[in-house]
Symmetry: C2
């Protein structure tokens, strides 16, 4: 559920003045990511659900009473809010699809007051999900098919963030999450290992590992770095040898120290003991650069990633904006210093080369039809939610788009301009 | 409400094994910020409310059914969860107090399974609030008493984050927020100006400003940088002159360009026109360094800060940890490479110099009483919440502690070691 008051005061004071002045004509607002060479590409997540939530948005009496207490609103406007039902159209780039800076990812076409009121909640809900999914995709791009587990719940900023990060990373190529609430809500596979506190509870690592492996013979991942990683690996070898035959899947996790060196040491130790199928899981502030290095130089079967998808340290906040782009007066361009907005209600058409790779995206006015693939789809029509959300379809869209992304865009060390152009009628010079 | 499943799978699989093995003895877990010279000081926020929420935590039937569906838990353990009621003690450094890296800020004393289960939700709920408040305090420290408005709702990661950031920054010295939901929930003053879309709606800036100022004569803050800041300022001068006498508070906001130059230009323009009491509000990706520069070189009466308190770009994620520190077997030290945990259930005593400034904090075992001021207070006793939460008391605690913080710790360009020491019985070498 969206909370009607999760909005900035100015969205409503502007609404008050629009209502007084009779400025409640049709208007188009769009959310996009400002082009600052932050990411070569973005992954859309959350647009479908948000569109549905907007159709359910209501101002409750207690919210109206709070607004009344501020002495900033007329009864006319409070009455307008009381009767608020979203009646317009929403278009979006659906979950899982790859898009680029400058492209509209969420477009609201409705009367001016309603479109303005939604600004804060749209940015609040979508920007961090897209950021997390886009970071996850970069990690996926270097992981060489290794298993990726999202461990970010403890780093994410509260409950909503934790769940939506789990979903975003799963859509963008991860295999599952440690977050049980996201597992329950979204049907995402859940994964887990053990914490250092578990090892410390027992009189020895051997005893801790033995007890855990007996309890979880289907999937016993033993954390080996509580005291000393080398002796931890040795204790794991002993336990796995002892229980071999009874263990369906066994592995170890290393969470600190030199992950390349330690993973190679562990692999050698296991192989020497005939334990070739024991898995090695690595974690500990991993990002795409560290994983790229480990994949190229170490041996690992899986990675646990938390902090860097919950709060990406290289881009904690992407430059998401939500702007008026067209109204009854025409296109609304904006040229504040360094902050350009191209007006016009847009569609984006994608063109592929003969190998099925993305050649370019052309951003047009919606009235111009091109023969490329349109990225924006209608999610809400006349206030009715008309799309369908399925997390696995979203994930499939990601895999399909990722395979069509040219290799240079996947290079985590390159910073490229988006392969986008504006069609003639949107060009401003 | 806390969701019982907002936890990592491993917290519960460990619980399963503890229950089987009869390892459910008394244990002490503590949350602290790992010392990585991230911040000279931190501001505690959220500990009081979280303690209360933990006393209300329950596993609902639908949650237990989901856990059962994973085929990882015995009926014994599911039954244990069904009957879960927190029965232990919780101590915390209450909201608003300043503390340092390495100090326990939230301490859970209970049986081992319950203490472990809470890990993920404690870190998820507290870490980002403390990060936001600590960033806000740095901004407060350079703002020279100017009005500080939190505009972060659109940048925060979801609804919870938006509200808790509004509260955190208010406790840490800000004057209010633009977020209406936080205003309603916590009684925080709300502020707002106008967006570029408002200006674009009218045929001219003059017309837009006039209409807004007539509607809000008590507090009309006009956004002047939609097209060109200089002509925007001129339009604002015209409107304010026209309505002078009818305007109780008028001001302008500048959100882009050279804020120092433009604020000085605006001040001169207003003063030339006898409008000395018109306020100048600045915004646009402001952080403590930019605000420090503007306060020293420009003219501003107020700042709007969003991104940098919602998602601090220099420290998107503080190194919060939650660790087992003591159980029936004694202190639990941990020495993983680069990740040291000092065992022992702790208290922190603060000592002041003769000018009332913090001299040092001594971290002791709780059994050792010192004559300093204890920072950890009891929030929950035998499962009962025994403290009281008041946002204004929390804010007062912040102002009091901030005034006792030595100046060098407030220097945003210094990176200091915390003024902490361990008492003898906790020293490990």
């Amino acid at each position: 559920m969206l909370e009607s008051l999760l909005t900035d005061l100015y969205e409503l004071t502007m609404g008050e003045v629009y209502l007084r002045d009779g400025y409640n004509d049709f208007a188009v607002f769009e959310m996009s990511i400002r082009h600052k060479k932050e990411r070569n590409y973005y992954v859309s997540v959350g647009t479908i659900e948000l569109a549905r939530l907007i159709t359910e948005l209501r101002f409750k009496d207690e919210d109206l009473n709070y607004l009344r207490s501020l002495a900033k609103f007329s009864e006319d406007f409070l009455n307008y809010l009381k009767n608020f039902r979203f009646k317009g159209d929403i278009w979006g780039i659906p979950d899982g699809r790859i898009f680029f800076a400058g492209e509209p990812v969420f477009v609201v076409k409705t009367n001016r007051i309603d479109g303005q009121i939604l600004e804060t909640m749209i940015l609040n809900r979508l920007a961090f999900q897209i950021n997390s999914a886009s970071k996850a995709a970069r990690i996926y791009s270097v992981a060489g098919g290794k298993l990726l587990m999202e461990f970010g719940a403890r780093r994410a900023a509260g409950k909503d963030a934790a769940n939506l990060v789990s979903r975003a990373t799963y859509i963008a190529g991860f295999n599952g999450t440690s977050n049980l609430l996201a597992g329950k809500l979204y049907g995402i596979p859940v994964y887990g290992t053990m914490a250092h506190a578990f090892v410390q509870t027992y009189s020895s690592e051997f005893e801790a590992f033995l007890s855990f492996a007996k309890a979880y013979p289907d999937n016993a991942i033993l954390l080996v770095d509580t005291y000393d990683t080398i002796s931890g690996i040795e204790a794991a070898v002993e336990v796995i040898k002892l229980l071999k035959g009874n263990l369906k899947l066994a592995g170890i996790r290393i969470d600190s120290g030199d992950l390349v060196e330690m993973s190679r040491y562990a692999r050698r130790k296991f192989d020497e003991n005939g334990l070739n199928d024991v898995k090695i899981v690595l974690s500990g502030d991993l990002d795409e650069w560290k994983i790229d290095y480990v994949v190229k130089n170490g041996v690992a079967d899986a990675f646990g990633i938390g902090t860097e998808v919950a709060l990406p340290s290289d881009r904690p906040c992407i430059g998401a904006i939500y702007k008026l782009v067209e109204d009854s007066g025409g296109f609304k361009h904006k040229f504040s210093k360094g902050k350009i907005v191209i007006g016009g209600s847009k569609q984006v058409y994608r063109f592929y080369n003969s190998e099925g790779k993305i050649r370019k995206d052309v951003i047009t006015h919606e009235s111009v039809k091109l023969d490329g693939e349109p990225l924006l789809v209608q999610l809400v029509k006349d206030g009715e939610f008309v799309y369908n959300y399925d997390i696995n379809e979203s994930r499939d869209r990601f895999f399909k788009d990722f395979s069509s992304l040219p290799d240079e865009y996947k290079d985590i060390n390159m910073s490229l301009n988006p392969p986008t152009e504006y069609s003639q009628e949107l060009r401003i010079m």
